[in-house]
């Protein structure tokens, strides 16, 4: 049974007549009807020349799934993308916030990064305070759907 390949979320069939050569680990030279493509495959990412795509393989034999952790329409956690230090809290528990509104500012790699609400709603908890150190993936705050939405 062939694996199902999704490119940027869409099921895509490979080109039927092609010659592919792996020229370096993860780098493929593919010729299709006289056109030459260099394709680079990494973890969940594939680049054809300058064009980058996300990919996902649904292989019934492997059930190896990636990503999609955010899911669900209800609560949304704001996670620290990398280790850093909390420099500012920009919202309070109970605040109604817009999607994209800054909630917590984390300093990492000498840059201050505003961690934004992924969706509109109400701030149900803030799990850090100023000057806290956070680890990658640590929960900073949780947004819940506003009561009357």
């Amino acid at each position: 049974m062939k694996p199902v390949i999704r490119i940027d979320g869409e099921v895509v069939s490979p080109v039927s007549h092609n010659t592919a050569v792996e020229v370096e680990p993860g780098v493929y030279s593919i010729l299709v009807e006289g056109s030459s493509y260099e394709v680079r495959v990494g973890a969940g990412q594939v680049a054809v020349g300058k064009r980058h795509f996300d990919y996902h393989v649904d292989d019934p034999r492997q059930w190896k799934r990636s990503g999609d952790a955010a899911g669900g329409q209800g609560r949304a956690a704001i996670l620290a993308p990398m280790p850093g230090k909390v420099v500012r809290i920009m919202a309070a528990v109970g605040d109604e916030v817009e999607a994209g509104q800054g909630i917590v500012v984390v300093e990492a790699m000498k840059m201050q990064n505003e961690m934004k609400a992924p969706r509109a709603g109400r701030v149900s908890s803030i799990q850090v305070k100023e000057n806290d150190s956070v680890v990658a993936g640590g929960v900073l705050a949780v947004i819940e759907p506003a009561v009357n939405s």
Partner: protein
């Protein structure tokens, strides 16, 4: 000439200096923190000295440990690179006191220009126009906030808050409304304190739609000083330069500006008793008026742009001048040729709000070919550390005209692939294709405005490319153990090739 030089820095600039030292037959000593043991500058240096733990205070900002390393390795001179201790007058003096030549300006000139407020005084007294601002640096105290508020009320909004000890956009804030001033003032001050150990901030009237144009100057210890033309650095994000080029498209329209700015830059530098490499930054408007902004008393990140249009090696000149040499040319002999553009390649994701993207580089394809220079500090398999600035490399191109240089840069960016982490390469493709950038219609707010455009990074669907991508993914995802029946290996059966190999044994 020096026998051995220590580079008190890391990353691409350390490697940049090592390369020139090697050309000059001088041994190089790299320094490294725990996070940088496997970094490229350590691999490429002749000698290397461990400084300490990853935090800069315990390594690249630690004067005593750097001087210890210099003593252990018996070097003659120390090159500070840019950032870290490069504009720290105490470090420059400590090098000299310990018996090492500091490859840069004298400590007194660094001190004079290092305080942005003092530098403004020197420039104004020397006759260069300056932007209105507070005379003194202000602390994040009730008095400081009051003085900032009073200046802003008099000069009118918007204003800029800047760290007195500043550089690299740290501790810098634009403020548009009186009610935002206090919060921004405190934030700028705390950022300045963390970055420079000095929380003083001053306030300047914001020159709207100004261009950032800077002049490279060079002086020797015998009183000779020249300028090497301008670089335009108006494409900035959060006050950090993103693209630099020479000539400036504005100066190309007003050729007399180059000489006027060059003379003003040399006057300001002379007033501070300056020698070695330095850069005088100006704000300019489209009518050709310009104002002294500040002086950077170091080799700049973007120095390769000047190297490509002048044909000079600025690091070699720095070393020769530090060794007591004379400038080998006069102002009349400085000739600018063609156009150069630089893109700063960062480990950050422009599509996701420029989130820093540290991590392991799993694949690396670097551009080359005609007119392409890559000053890089990374390699495939290296992990970009969290502890430092996320700049990976500088891609610089040269061509006969600006238009050709931009085309060349787009071609080179297309050859550049960094796998495993995100980079800002897609940002450059957007900027370099933007008609306003192509026309040279730049100002320091240009990029922020461009980034507000919706769908900036959206791409047209490309079903053909998606199918090609799927073809590679299909082969790649195949478990290694299963036999390959696709024509990926030219259609030959594994049994057949296995049998042939057996016969050859």
């Amino acid at each position: 000439m020096f026998q051995k030089v220590l580079i008190a820095n890391r990353g691409e600039i350390a490697l940049r200096v090592i390369r020139t030292l090697r050309e000059m037959g001088i041994r190089s000593v790299a320094v490294y923190s725990d996070a940088d043991r496997a970094s490229l500058h350590v691999r490429k240096a002749d000698e290397a000295a461990h400084l300490g733990a990853a935090p800069s205070r315990e390594s690249y900002l630690n004067v005593e440990r750097i001087l210890d390393a210099a003593r252990r390795h018996k070097v003659d001179a120390i090159h500070p690179g840019y950032g870290f201790l490069s504009e720290n007058a105490e470090f420059a003096q400590a090098c000299v006191d310990a018996g090492f030549v500091f490859i840069g300006p004298p400590a007194s000139a660094i001190a004079a220009m290092g305080s942005k407020t003092a530098a403004r005084k020197i420039a104004r007294d020397g006759g260069a126009p300056v932007v209105p601002g507070t005379e003194e640096g202000l602390m994040a105290s009730p008095e400081g906030r009051a003085a900032a508020t009073a200046f802003a009320a008099k000069a009118g909004f918007p204003v800029m808050l800047k760290a007195v000890a500043g550089g690299g956009g740290k501790g810098m804030r634009r403020v548009d409304r009186a009610e935002d001033l206090a919060a921004n003032f405190d934030a700028a001050s705390s950022e300045a304190l963390r970055s420079f150990g000095d929380g003083r901030v001053y306030v300047e009237k914001l020159v709207e739609n100004a261009r950032h144009i800077e002049i490279q100057i060079f002086g020797d210890q015998h009183g000779n000083m020249v300028h090497l033309g301008e670089r335009e650095c108006s494409v900035q994000r959060r006050h950090q330069k993103v693209i630099e080029e020479s000539p400036s498209p504005l100066v190309a329209l007003h050729p007399e500006m180059r000489q006027r700015m060059g003379e003003a830059a040399v006057l300001a530098a002379r007033a501070a008793g300056y020698y070695n490499a330095g850069t005088v930054e100006f704000l300019a408007d489209n009518a050709g008026n310009f104002y002294f902004l500040e002086m950077n008393t170091r080799l700049q990140v973007e120095h390769p742009v000047t190297e490509l249009v002048t044909g000079l090696d600025l690091v070699r000149l720095q070393v020769e001048i530090a060794n007591g040499g004379r400038l080998p040319f006069t102002q009349d002999q400085v000739a600018l040729r063609g156009a150069a553009v630089e893109c700063r390649i960062y480990a950050e994701d422009p599509v996701n709000n420029f989130m820093p993207s540290p991590g392991r580089i799993t694949q690396l394809a670097e551009p080359s070919g005609p007119g392409v220079r890559l000053d890089s500090g990374v390699y495939s398999g290296w992990t970009v550390p969290l502890d430092y600035d996320p700049m990976l490399a500088k891609l610089i191109v040269w061509a006969d005209t600006r238009e050709h240089a931009i085309e060349r840069m787009l071609r080179a960016l297309g050859e550049y692939h960094v796998g495993g982490i995100r980079t800002n390469i897609p940002l450059f493709e957007v900027i370099l294709n933007d008609p306003a950038f192509r026309a040279g219609e730049l100002h320091t707010g240009y990029l922020d405005a461009l980034l507000k455009r919706p769908g900036l990074f959206d791409l047209a669907p490309a079903p053909d490319l998606a199918a090609v991508a799927a073809s590679a993914v299909e082969i790649h995802a195949k478990p290694a153990a299963s036999p390959i029946a696709e024509p990926a290996n030219g259609g030959a059966s594994r049994w057949l090739s296995g049998g042939r190999e057996a016969l050859l044994r």
